[in-house]
């Protein structure tokens, strides 16, 4: 090797060294920047998910909490014998009579065409008239006497008292006139109108009048439907899981059942609704929009999840338990039912409650089986027409009256509370009984 070659090599080394170093340092910097960016994307994604949940809950609570307070009017009503014919108590115009009495009490004069009382009637509630008629029907002796009646005030008046309809809105754009606002203020200062917790929401059934509409019918319908679902889905699901996990021979048939169950779990819920419509309602002639058909459809829908949850908790029971039972002379059935199943029970219950909570919120299949009709009363049995909570939300959401919007959000809050309670029960069960082997 010549001197010149050596020196040139040293030269290149000297030159290359700092170059590579800066290169590496530069690259390292950009790599670390990439690392930070990637991390930031992750945090961003998580925050977006949390943010969405926050907005969702905030909006619903914001829109719905006002529906839990309502305004009632309490007034003395004189059942005027001059206006009510004792032979035909149904025929009298109670609304007009009560409106005129309230107007007299408030010192509002009637004009000759009766438009004032017509406008005044709008801020009261037709429920007062119904209540007067009902009282009179129960006890005809009340005719000519004074009775005290309380009923929810008209929905628009309620919105005004809550400050959702204000004077800032142009008069033509709101359902309440300036004159009516003056009357309402007077009613409030006189103490006839009071605000209180909206018990009507939980004691009334559905109604076309927003102020009278409540969730009792829907809650009862949901309870009945969920009962049918639980009675069908739990035994059948647990039975199928026991068979597949503990008894079934490994052959083509059981493999088919397994593939089948996995696929059923992913079938869109509306398809179950079509099944219910075609088979249960049209072919078997079971009653439309009844909790029975709804419960059966939801049970079929919940079945795959119950089976999958049960199988995984059965699998978590160690084989030594089975072997010990068999070893002291238990039959296969005894080993499974006396030892494996009780140990798997907490897991099964957790999975089942979660899938029932899911069924509680399901809407689409129920629309298919006709559960969209207006049901004003309480369902008498599982075969009579009923409404359920999620469908009630859907129906109210479509209503045009503004007062139904806050009630829709309130119904959502009630539904979410029920679901959270069920999930909480599942979590507590898991915490309390979970065993690690």
């Amino acid at each position: 090797m010549t001197d010149s070659a050596q020196s040139s090599l040293a030269e290149t080394r000297d030159v290359a060294k700092p170059d590579l170093k800066t290169k590496v340092a530069k690259r390292l910097k950009s790599r670390h920047a990439a690392e930070l960016r990637f991390r930031a994307y992750g945090i961003l994604a998580v925050s977006v998910a949390v943010l969405f949940l926050g907005i969702l809950l905030e909006r619903i609570i914001h829109q719905g909490y006002t529906a839990f307070v309502t305004h009632s009017i309490t007034t003395e009503v004189y059942l005027d014998p001059n206006r009510i014919d004792p032979a035909d108590i149904m025929g009298a115009n109670y609304d007009q009579m009560i409106t005129e009495q309230v107007m007299a009490k408030m010192g509002v004069a009637e004009d000759e065409y009766g438009t004032t009382s017509g406008e005044y009637k709008e801020i009261l509630s037709p429920d007062l008239g119904f209540k007067a008629l009902e009282a009179l029907r129960d006890n005809p002796k009340l005719l000519g006497q004074k009775i005290s009646l309380t009923s929810p005030i008209a929905a628009n008046a309620d919105l005004y008292y809550k400050g959702e309809i204000t004077r800032d809105i142009v008069e033509a754009d709101r359902n309440v006139s300036d004159q009516q606002m003056v009357w309402m203020d007077a009613l409030k200062t006189k103490g006839l109108v009071t605000s209180h917790f909206n018990t009507y929401l939980f004691t009334n059934t559905d109604s076309t009048q927003p102020e009278l509409a409540g969730l009792l019918g829907a809650i009862m319908g949901s309870a009945m439907m969920l009962l049918v679902t639980a009675v069908l889905a739990i035994p059948i699901g647990v039975g199928a899981a026991l068979f597949l996990e503990e008894f079934a021979p490994k052959n083509r048939w059981t493999a088919l059942i397994e593939v089948n169950i996995n696929n059923l779990a992913a079938v869109p819920s509306i398809v179950y609704g079509l099944l219910g419509l075609a088979v249960f309602i049209n072919w078997l002639g079971m009653p439309r929009s009844s909790p029975l058909v709804g419960g059966v459809v939801l049970a079929l829908m919940a079945l795959p999840t119950v089976i999958i949850a049960t199988r995984s908790s059965l699998r978590a029971v160690p084989p030594s338990i089975r072997e010990a039972a068999l070893g002291i002379g238990a039959s296969k059935t005894q080993a499974v039912f006396h030892h494996v199943l009780p140990l798997a029970m907490p897991g099964i219950m957790t999975g089942t409650i979660i899938s029932l909570a899911h069924a509680l919120g399901e809407t689409a299949p129920l629309l298919m089986i006709g559960m969209i009709s207006f049901v004003p009363g309480l369902p008498e049995s599982v075969t009579s027409a009923a409404s359920v909570l999620p469908v009630q939300i859907f129906i109210w959401e479509n209503a045009s009256e503004r007062a139904f919007h806050e009630r829709t959000a309130a119904a959502i809050i009630v539904l979410l509370v029920f679901m959270i309670l069920m999930n909480l029960a599942a979590i507590l069960l898991r915490r309390r009984f979970e065993r690690r082997w």
């Binding site: 088919l256 696929n263 079938v267 819920s269 079509l274 009653p287 029975l292 629309l367 006709g370 829709t408």
Partner: protein
């Protein structure tokens, strides 16, 4: 009533169990031998025989009673009803059924001869209903007593009650698993059957490739425009558009949250974020629909109108000023939010199942964590993640409530996210809600759409399962 009878049957069976158990004990004691089976099995044996045959009759009554009743009632059609168009005949009997069951009848008013026929049919249906119900109740009682008597007569210390009971138990377990198969069969057969009837009036090719959708079939045959159009392409395009928008939201957000949660987050953070995602997953779809229709829709519209106000006079500005609440973007974004926890929890499981040794190897070579994730973990998890994405797509395609509440009804084949589109599921709901004669092409079209939906989601699920299965055990 049936419910009370069922409860009575349960009480009777419990009594049978106790009586059978004590009888077996007494018989064994009196003969001075130990029975073949434990006394409890004798009790179970008697209880099963008291319960199952009788319960089966009640089951048949609940399931098939209505069908038998309808067949008898509809066997002879009154002359006044025969004069009605075929569509209204079905409605007539539907109303009869609703009146007898105490359900919701349609708003049709029957008067004159029809009223007489209606009342007659209601009376007939009621009497048939009573006969069937009473007959079934009597049969139930007889079978319960006979079953119990038969079982008591078999009891003796030598009787192998345990084997018999265990045979019943395995039969029950097999029957439970068969329900899953029957459900699938029921879905496929009912969809196929009704679709075939639909395809008799509309050719499948017109349905799948036609571009005109207007299923407004008239109630009366002579009404104008009663033919309707059943080309489903606009619906498929609308479904596809909303699904793509949803996946654009759900895939990145869901995947990145899964990566962050499984690779970066501290246990404390995981413990807080996971429940949040679970709550998002548990929110009913009708709530998302409400959110989309009343919160997201109006605010998106306001935003685009505000944007349009900056471009006055231009066609773009004009367009933005006129967008509606029901644009595809709203339904798509909200559906994407709904799918985030689904994508995230599936991806989380898959990322966690990649062996730690792969990460350790990569980190030991000097790779940063993000490089490890991007170049080692994600490629290893890719089959699972693509499977998860396909499952999310299948969910998006089949989702109903969000689009019913937030998307429009106009069948338009457009890929513009600001336009209103309609989807397959929205049309199924619209076609099948409300008073309708079941046999009209309009309602049958819903089953055609349902069949398409089922086929597509089934294919997606099968492919997803295939992908996951094929690459699942690569590292074990």
């Amino acid at each position: 009533m049936t419910g009370y009878l069922f409860l009575a049957l349960i009480v009777f069976s419990v009594a049978s169990f106790m009586f059978g158990r004590s009888l077996a004990r007494r018989k064994a004691a009196s003969q001075g031998v130990r029975g073949h089976s434990l006394p409890a099995f004798s009790g179970w044996f008697v209880a099963i025989w008291s319960f199952i045959p009788a319960a089966l009759i009640l089951f048949v009554l609940v399931v098939f009673g209505g069908r038998v009743e309808n067949t008898i009632v509809q066997a002879d059609v009154p002359a006044a009803v025969q004069q009605l168009p075929e569509l209204n005949q079905g409605l007539f009997f539907q109303d009869v059924r609703a009146t007898v069951n105490g359900g919701m009848a349609s708003t049709t008013v029957y008067d004159g001869e029809l009223k007489a026929a209606f009342d007659h049919k209601v009376a007939q249906a009621k009497s048939v209903d009573n006969t069937i119900t009473l007959g079934a109740y009597a049969l139930t009682l007889i079978l319960a007593l006979a079953g119990a008597a038969f079982a008591y007569s078999r009891l003796s210390p030598q009787f192998r009650a345990r084997n018999s009971v265990e045979r019943w138990v395995s039969a029950f377990l097999v029957a439970c698993s068969v329900v899953a198969i029957l459900t699938t069969l029921g879905i496929i057969l009912s969809l196929l059957w009704e679709s075939l009837r639909f395809f008799q009036s509309v050719s499948p090719l017109d349905f799948l490739f036609g571009t005109h959708w207007s299923p407004q079939i008239a109630m009366r045959a002579d009404q104008v425009g009663s033919s309707g159009g059943f080309g489903a392409v606009p619906l498929f395009v609308g479904t596809f558009l909303i699904m793509i928008i949803a996946m654009c939201v759900a895939a990145p957000v869901g995947l990145y949250s899964a990566i962050y949660l499984s690779e970066y987050a501290s246990p404390f953070m995981r413990a807080w974020i996971k429940p949040v995602l679970e709550i998002l997953a548990g929110v009913p779809t009708v709530v998302y629909g409400f959110f989309a229709a009343l919160v997201v829709g109006p605010s998106f519209r306001e935003f685009f109108n505000w944007l349009g106000a900056f471009m006055p006079g231009t066609p773009m500005g004009e367009y933005l000023m006129n967008v509606q609440n029901q644009m595809a973007l709203v339904a798509g974004v909200v559906m994407g939010i709904m799918l985030i926890p689904f994508v995230s929890s599936l991806s989380d499981d898959i990322i966690n199942s990649v062996p730690q040794s792969l990460r350790d190897g990569s980190l030991a070579m000097g790779a940063t964590r993000s490089e490890t994730i991007k170049k080692v973990v994600l490629p290893a998890a890719l089959p699972g993640i693509s499977g998860a994405m396909l499952l999310a797509v299948s969910r998006a395609v089949g989702e109903t409530m969000i689009v019913t509440m937030a998307a429009g009804l106009q069948a338009k084949a457009t890929l513009n996210p600001l336009d209103t589109v309609t989807t397959v599921t929205v049309q199924i709901v619209t076609l099948l809600t409300g008073d309708q004669e079941f046999d009209s092409p309009k309602t049958l079209a819903a089953f055609g759409l349902g069949l398409t939906l089922f086929a597509v989601t089934l294919a997606l699920n099968l492919i997803a399962q295939r992908i996951v299965q094929k690459y699942q055990e690569q590292y074990d």
